[in-house]
């Protein structure tokens, strides 16, 4: 169940009410707060010390570095599905400037991009990759860079009878939905089932209407970029998300070469 626009506004209000209390002494801070807010107050205080508390007027972006690479966390509070779409969009737009490979993770309150290179420090650069301009075109284009349509195709292929759904079939007519997706893309690019997969990802996964509303709202807000010494309390759970997707605009050999370099570096760090 995604966080609705109303609910996310209410959550931000609660965070703000806590923020108003956070400056006071510990005993004073707890007074007059909902028990749930009281419980997370220490975390919110840490968040406010290392970074900022998010509010409805600005978009908070945190940059951090770990031994696995560079991370950027954005907190639009727009719901998980919208964040998944936004993450793919932003990663794709960054990777258009310079070929790169990113992993993305999303929760109801924000999303993470991680990659090998540091992310933007300037508000102006972030504003460009979060812009509502060319939104639909860019989303359709970035669908090809992710595996989202290919993954979504499984359901469609089953309904269309292209792959078996649990029922025993002849071994010689077994193929994975992914393989059929690839063969259709290569030899029957106009196939209606492929368009259906892309359309459904756009409508269901990206929730296009709400995604557009989210980027338009971001365009009207301040953007605040903060470097955090380590992952903040808001960032950590996103980083720990198990479900990640990937977007790349690099060729396979480039990626292998970069992976080899990374692993050699990691091995060097360990032995030194």
């Amino acid at each position: 169940m995604p966080l609705s626009t109303l609910l996310s506004a209410a959550v931000l209000d609660l965070v703000q009410s806590a923020a108003a209390h956070a400056g006071r002494s510990a005993a004073g801070a707890a007074r007059g707060l909902l028990p749930e807010v009281k419980a997370v107050l220490p975390l919110l205080q840490t968040q406010s010390r290392w970074s900022h508390l998010p509010d409805g007027d600005g978009l908070l972006i945190e940059r951090a570095q770990s031994r696995d690479g560079h991370h950027a966390f954005l907190f639009p509070f727009a719901g998980r599905l919208v964040h998944e779409g936004l993450a793919a969009l932003v990663a794709w737009r960054i990777a258009q400037r310079q070929p790169g490979t990113f992993t993305m993770a999303a929760t109801d309150w924000g999303f993470e991009l991680s990659g090998r290179e540091p992310f933007f420090t300037q508000e102006r650069e972030w504003r460009q990759v979060l812009s509502p301009a060319n939104l639909l075109e860019d989303l359709l284009a970035c669908l090809n860079g992710t595996e989202m349509a290919r993954r979504h195709f499984r359901e469609i292929a089953r309904v269309a009878g292209l792959v078996a759904g649990g029922r025993r079939t002849n071994r010689q007519t077994q193929a994975s939905a992914g393989l059929i997706f690839d063969v259709l893309s290569e030899h029957d690019a106009g196939n209606m089932l492929l368009s259906q997969a892309r359309r459904e990802v756009l409508e269901q996964h990206f929730e296009y209407g709400r995604l557009r509303a989210a980027v338009e709202s971001i365009a009207a807000r301040d953007i605040r970029v903060v470097d955090t010494p380590r992952l903040s309390p808001l960032a950590f759970p996103i980083w720990a998300e198990q479900v990640q997707s990937r977007l790349t605009t690099q060729g396979w050999l480039e990626r292998i070469t970069a992976m080899a370099r990374e692993l050699e570096q990691a091995a060097g760090d360990m032995s030194s």
């Binding site: 690479g69 992993t103 990937r246 292998i256 990374e262």
Partner: protein, 254 residues
């Protein structure tokens, strides 16, 4: 990968080779020719006998699907045969050795599929074509003479090589001294990096006395290989081949 009874330690030198496309990063110039050259396009080449090796084409698989009422487009088989003919011409191949599963199923062996293969055969008329039978070929029924296959065999021993479809079977006593080259497994490998990149693709897999080729056919599934000690792996693509042994083993140790 299944256990192989092969005990040979024949030093067979495998390199991923020139001929367009990419080679492994950091690969040194090859002083003299290796015994096996891995080529872009998911095939291998034996320079000494000018033999081209390809496995698991599964021709007629799309046709078998359509016969079963599953609408899969035509085109992958023609394209695969075109790629194979291009490889034969590019490397001046004396003999093409197909390591099994040339055809997918009896229901897919339509007159059109056979005609396409015959057309391919006439395009490589100067090359002999030998099929080491695979499990799919054996159920495909009798292969007509019009295909122009020069020989169909179950195994082929040509020291130092032992050619067979399924790597774990058909090892005769003499073959244990030899280096096995096989197909059947449709190997794929997944490589990952600390920053979260992950890439899975078809691959060549080598053990001390065994090389398994990736499936040549594009409409074929894959089987993920779990790397073990002393295993070497190369990602195999239409446009290149690159060794990922160190990458796979480094990631495994993390």
């Amino acid at each position: 990968m299944k256990a192989v009874m092969n005990t040979s330690e024949t030093p067979v030198r495998i390199e991923c080779g020139p001929g367009g496309g990419a080679v492994a990063p950091g690969l040194q110039a090859i002083p003299d020719l290796p015994d096996i050259l891995l080529l872009p396009g998911r095939a291998a080449f034996l320079p000494a006998s000018r033999t081209l090796l390809a496995a698991d084409l599964h021709l007629g698989k799309a046709a078998a699907f359509r016969r079963a009422g599953i609408p899969v487009p035509e085109g992958s088989a023609q394209q695969d045969l075109q790629r194979l003919a291009d490889l034969v011409h590019a490397h001046d191949v004396r003999r093409l050795l197909v390591l099994g599963d040339l055809f997918h199923a009896k229901s897919g062996c339509t007159p059109q599929v056979f005609a396409e293969f015959a057309a391919f055969r006439s395009r490589v008329a100067d090359t002999s074509v030998v099929l080491v039978l695979g499990n799919h070929d054996r159920t495909a029924g009798r292969l007509p003479a019009s295909l122009g296959l020069d020989a169909c065999v179950h195994v082929l021993d040509e020291p130092p090589f032992h050619f067979v479809h399924e790597p774990a079977t058909g090892l005769t006593a003499s073959a244990r001294e030899l280096f096995t080259v096989a197909g059947h497994l449709h190997p794929t490998v997944s490589v990952r990096s600390p920053s979260g990149d992950r890439l899975a693709d078809r691959c060549f897999v080598a053990e001390p006395a065994l090389l398994v080729l990736p499936a040549f056919g594009s409409f074929t599934g894959g089987h993920r290989i779990e790397p073990v000690e002393r295993m070497r792996l190369w990602i195999a693509r239409d446009d290149g081949v690159a060794e990922v042994t160190r990458l796979v083993h480094a990631a495994r140790r993390r």
